[in-house]
Symmetry: C2
Subunit: 345 residues, 2 copies
């Protein structure tokens, strides 16, 4: 577990109300770590807390960890728990955001139909909001990242796998059964088109996701042909490509080609003018540059702009903070209506 | 030119007001033909008119043809021109529907930034509406076809090329520069991934569009290996596949595979539960059946339902009629507001 105090940003993210008397928790539940941030009503992060989830994927255990983290954050900021007005979190899987139910995560955590919003509200006694983590990060990019000021864009998160958060007319497009943007199974030239078992990595993911990149590296790796280990991570492989290593460059090129084809296809469907690359692997500058190059070769009418996230891993926390503030606002409005109705009755 | 009188439908399409005292014109401008329908205020088609555009693609000439057609329809129905309250048309290219400007059609017609709505309003003296033909057909499917009662679906028009009309939350998604759904350039396994010159058939179109299907047929055709001519149309090739011809079946299979991959990709992005196949080639039963088969092999979480249009070529005319009625309603509402304002002043 780690706890850190933040220097306050000079100006709060756009679109967030400036009321600093209330506080919220933004969270990001991942397959390897749980991260929390305590923010004031202006959306400014006061302090952060994180812990490993590698061995504790169970929802009740994650909730207990969140309790510990929130307590640590309140202690660090010398605030009583009553000053918290909402909590919001991203979850690593398909999520019904209306009900706050995590429908399915990858096999690593194994959640199925977990009513996590209800669990958070029972634990903390404040309104909560739960959405898919890529969608939450897209909100972060929209409110405080490079998508600020746009109304239509696509956030592409590349970590172990790949997912898209789609914003149309300033709103997340989540889809009828909440799976919009689950592009790991996309088929492009170069991917296998063999049917994929449910729960297994999709065709695009096998080339563009972190595990797929490592797999490409291992299958091409020969002793004495490169200075980098056979067990290198995707980031190390891309770093090695920047140093001119031929094998690393061929892996980078293949990854960038598949990614650019996916972006091309999504842009054709949606006519989105902007794509923001995020996630631990997506933000690697070598990947952004190589992908832009392949996109430029094509030059279609609706050529999208491709940028690398400036928020990095903070996109999800900032998105969660914004969603928590919105949840708190909604609760206030509901209370005002109830009060007005009982006064009139 | 051909003119025909309709038997009235027993019940008007859903969502259309039942005022039968007004009349509208719905039109479909295509690369090979111009079709018009006169409908009453309940959306019921009274009579139709059509003519060839094969040698008269110029916008001013098309407008003159529409004038002739509308006059013929009014004469046939014994109605004075004053009883027309609006006209709407689909245009075969990227269209700014807000302004009614046809930005670009294929090289066959060669329109560039044609203010066709303005031209229609000047010619007929009634409010007009112009949108991309595939979008207009999608509205037809939503209001009177197999998409009735849904709020999210994708209409796929396959004729010479392929295009998608995307309906999200009951509204067309047209995209920031009006190119959403221009999926002819989509890249899937089996398509070439070489960059495509602007104006040339896209990668997907080269396999799935009518011309692409004929091209596949010609490149595999050998004398005495099939009873069908080397110059067969796409529909004839698919008919031949149903008769068990091996070459025709391999063309059908390749087309269906590419189409199913495109549907798979679009469904991943949008999570649309329903796809409606339309257009002269899209409605061929052999294509629908073969494509459903490939989709079933995959069985992803968000498996969409694929149906063949029951409206066929009428989807565009019915969509145009609905859009004309909506345009007339908007004009009435605007007039009512103006009258109220001048009464108050």
């Amino acid at each position: 577990m780690s706890l850190e105090r933040e220097k306050l940003l000079a100006s709060p993210p756009d679109g967030i109300s400036k009321d600093t008397s209330r506080y919220v928790i933004g969270a990001d539940i991942g397959g390897t770590s749980l991260r929390l941030a305590l923010a004031n009503g202006a959306g400014q992060i006061l302090c952060r807390w994180s812990a490993s989830t590698a061995e504790t994927g169970d929802a009740a255990k994650v909730l207990q960890m969140m309790r510990n983290g929130v307590d640590a954050l309140l202690l660090e900021a010398s605030l009583p728990s009553q000053c918290l007005s909402a909590i919001a979190t991203g979850a690593p899987g398909v999520t019904n955001a209306d009900e706050g139910i995590v429908i399915a995560t990858s096999y690593l955590m194994g959640w199925r139909d977990v009513p996590f919003r209800q669990m958070l509200e029972a634990e903390f006694g404040i309104p909560a909001f739960v959405d898919n983590d890529v969608n939450v990060a897209a909100i972060g990019e929209l409110k405080a990242g490079l998508a600020m000021g746009t109304t239509d864009f696509v956030f592409l998160a590349i970590g172990t796998g790949i997912g898209a958060g789609i914003v149309l007319n300033n709103e997340l497009h989540r889809g009828g059964i909440w799976t919009a943007g689950e592009i790991g199974y996309m088929l492009v030239p170069g991917t296998s088109d063999a049917p994929v078992e449910r729960g297994q990595p999709g065709a695009l993911e096998s080339l563009v996701g972190g595990e797929g990149i490592r797999q490409q590296w291992r299958s091409g790796w020969r002793e004495n042909s490169t200075t980098l280990s056979r067990d290198a991570t995707a980031s190390q492989i891309f770093d090695q490509a920047l140093r001119g290593d031929p094998l690393a460059n061929s892996v980078l090129e293949r990854t960038a080609r598949a990614l650019s084809y996916a972006i091309h296809n999504i842009a054709l469907v949606l006519n989105s003018p902007l794509f923001v690359l995020g996630g631990s692997i997506g933000i690697h500058p070598a990947l952004g540059d190589a992908t832009r190059l392949v996109l430029l070769e094509r030059g279609t009418r609706a050529q999208p702009r491709l940028v690398s996230s400036a928020l990095g891993a903070d996109a999800q926390l900032i998105g969660a903070i914004f969603l928590a503030l919105e949840t708190a606002d909604r609760e206030l409005a509901n209370k005002a209506i109830t009060t007005a109705q009982s006064t009139l009755a």
